[in-house]
Amino acid sequence: MSEITKVDYVQHRSRRKFLKGLAAGVGLIALPSKDAAASVWDEFFQKHFRELSRDELKGVITRLEKDYSKQFAKQVTVKTTPPIEGVLYGYGLDLSRCIGCRRCVYACVKENNQSRDPQIHWIRVLQLDKEKGVDLSHAEQYYNPEKVPEKGHFYMPVQCQQCEKPPCTKVCPVQATWKENDGIVVVDYNWCIGCRYCMAACPYGARHFNWGKPTLPAAEMNPVTHYLGNRPRPKGVVEKCTFCIQRTREQPGRYPACEEICPVGARKFGNLLDPNSEIRYLIENKRVFKLKDDLNTQPKFFYFYAT
């Protein structure tokens, strides 16, 4: 797949940019213009997602849909679909099948409206040595050969492990991130203050910060969004994999984009509470391990060897 470039931003700051910044700063102090004013203040005073009343939530969603539709010049929907009763999502990844093609990485970017520049990837694929096994100290993320898989290597995609005991939600000073009843760890982008404590706490590098203003070409923008998932993010907040909450919570649901695109069937997704699900079969019958098990984060992301 296309190459990942190690983020290395050349810091180019001209005088004009400086003046622009100064103007923006002054603009911050001045009251917003009449038209935008209501929206800006509504956003500023918006309550925490879980504290919104039904009416307030409706107002928020209407405002967001209007803003996004205008920004991307297409009809954007922002869903708030709640967890499905009796469902606890689990993910399985077959290390004996994964070929390291990174199709999942880019399907995820497309589905979840990640910033293209600066590049944000919720899935990182590690190239590991077969001789050394799952030893992260020899992991290479920026492998870039003509063809994968390469001899002597195997591949391990890492994304949010949707821990049962997430260290990231515990440390958030404002409860802007939490675990939903179906096990998905979500972020309220309108509540996150951007302190990045959760990123320090996450043992899997699953959380990503919008260091700059995310760029998302209107043509490529996925207009089917969820408030807690793939809606466009502002700069200065943390984001992460949500098991494609906008797909998996629907009834009938859809598989996460990464699962759907995998050309070798290495990815499995299902309901851990359903004894007949494929994911339960794998956990019960295959050799399974959890990443950094010793930290007792209890991931609901299971690596296994099917063959």
Binding site: P173, R196, G205, G212, V237
Partner: protein, 435 residues
């Protein structure tokens, strides 16, 4: 109410007066603050992308400075304990200057955190009731609580005492003593909580060590007093304020002990990591030797080590401790040494290698440097202003005039080189005006 206004108006008048050197100093700080502010405006506009922090190293220079300044703030107790608990005169005379230093340091801490977060305008999410402070789960929430408590306590105590002295009243012992006693555990708590903030993360083995809290405290009791001593030596040289040698000696002695404990704990940690040599050694290797060809912090940490050990001996040996020149050298060495060790030296290796063992070498960008410089200037500006008021009050050069309304200002210059031999070993002069 009217009295408060008169006092306030008087202080405004006072801070506008001063020698040429005073004006130059203040102007210099204001220029640096303006540079910092312009950097911040740019950062607000473009986002933190103009820092060199990235997902791999998600905290950098700002949080390093924050961590260090918490230590400086906490160190005010080293004056408060001998002054108020042991009622030791020589320190009690200027303990209030330590409290004001704590105030300035906390102001810097709050600024460093503010510039580090992505959405500073959402600060109200941290206010209980109004927002949703994640207390007691998040250690950052604890930090918000203890830092603000400590700030309010120190402000209240120092302003209360100074205000009463201004009106020539004896400060009510029963009012401020409980506050002072409360400020002691809260000084310990700000540093403990800040250490816990790093300590409680299983994802970061470099910080996940049980001696992090004592290490923090020990190093704080070196760096804070070092900064205070430097300032007190300046104050004694360039203002009319007198500080006795024995007070300075006492503080320097405490620093020697604290530095010993600091080095001991660091040594214990280094032994454990290197002798067991698990994968968790990586961060230590990065810091002390370099890892896979990346060694940006190595020269700094060794500088810090040499500085700290040299300073330890300078403070340990009575003759070098008493010699004003080696005393100043020791203070500078400690200050720089701990700044490296408990600043970047503590924060950055926590992220290198990152949780997926990627190495992203971090060094602060120009914006980060300029902004940090601006915040340092702000802290010094705040402290200068506070001293400008506090010192004349303590000297009896600033108090209410005989009419009970206007102020008497007896110190128009503030910042002037004092002629009489302050560098001499002062033999204990008994009679000294107490508070």
């Amino acid at each position: 109410m009217k009295n408060i206004w008169n006092f306030f108006a008087g202080t405004l008048m006072l801070i506008s007066k001063g020698s040429k050197a005073y004006y130059c100093w203040v102007l210099f700080l204001l220029v640096l603050m303006a540079i910092g502010a312009s950097a911040y405006v740019r950062q607000l506009d473009e986002g933190l992308i103009i820092s060199n922090m990235r997902d791999q190293v998600s905290w950098g220079f700002y949080i390093s400075n924050f961590t260090f300044m918490v230590g400086v703030a906490a160190a005010a107790v080293l004056l408060v304990i001998p002054a108020y608990v042991y009622e030791w005169g020589p320190i009690k005379e200027f303990a209030v200057l330590g409290e004001l230093l704590a105030v300035s340091a906390i102001v810097m801490c709050l600024l460093f955190v503010t510039v580090d977060i992505g959405h500073p305008e959402r600060f109200w999410h941290l206010i209980p009731k109004l927002g949703l402070l994640n207390f007691p789960q998040s250690l950052l929430a604890w930090d918000v609580v203890v830092l603000n408590t400590y700030l309010v306590l120190n402000l209240t105590i120092s302003i209360y005492i100074l205000y009463n002295l201004y009106y020539k009243r004896e400060p009510n012992h029963n009012f401020y003593t409980p506050l002072v006693l409360l400020s002691i555990p809260s000084a310990i708590s700000i540093h403990t909580v800040t250490a816990f903030l790093y300590n409680g993360l299983g994802a970061r083995p470099f910080w996940n060590s049980s001696i992090l809290v004592p290490r923090f405290l020990a190093s704080a009791f070196c760096s804070g007093p070092a900064f205070m001593l430097l300032i007190f030596l300046l104050v004694r040289k360039y203002t009319k304020f007198k500080i006795k040698d024995e007070a300075i000696q006492k503080v320097a002695e405490i620093m020697a002990y604290a530095m010993f404990i600091n080095l001991l704990l660091l040594g214990a940690e280094i032994f454990k990591e290197y002798y067991t040599a698990t994968v968790h050694l990586d961060s230590f290797q990065y810091l002390f030797q370099g890892l896979h060809g990346h060694s940006a912090l190595v020269p700094y940490i060794w500088t810090a080590m040499i500085f700290n050990i040299t300073a330890f001996f300078l403070f340990l040996v009575p003759s070098t401790r008493k010699n004003p020149i080696t005393l100043v050298i020791g203070c500078v060495l400690v200050f720089v040494g701990v700044y490296i060790e408990k600043g970047m030296g503590l924060v950055i290796p926590g992220f290198i290698p990152d949780t997926l063992h990627e190495i992203y070498e971090y060094s602060p960008s120009n914006t980060e440097l300029m902004l940090a410089m601006g915040i340092w200037a702000t802290g010094l500006f705040v402290y200068t202003m506070l001293l400008r008021v506090a010192i004349p009050i303590l000297n009896g050069d600033f108090h209410v005039a005989d009419d009970g309304v206007s102020s008497y200002i007896g110190d128009d210059l503030f910042f002037v080189r004092q002629e009489n031999g302050e560098e001499e070993e002062m033999v204990t002069e008994p009679k000294q005006v107490g508070e």
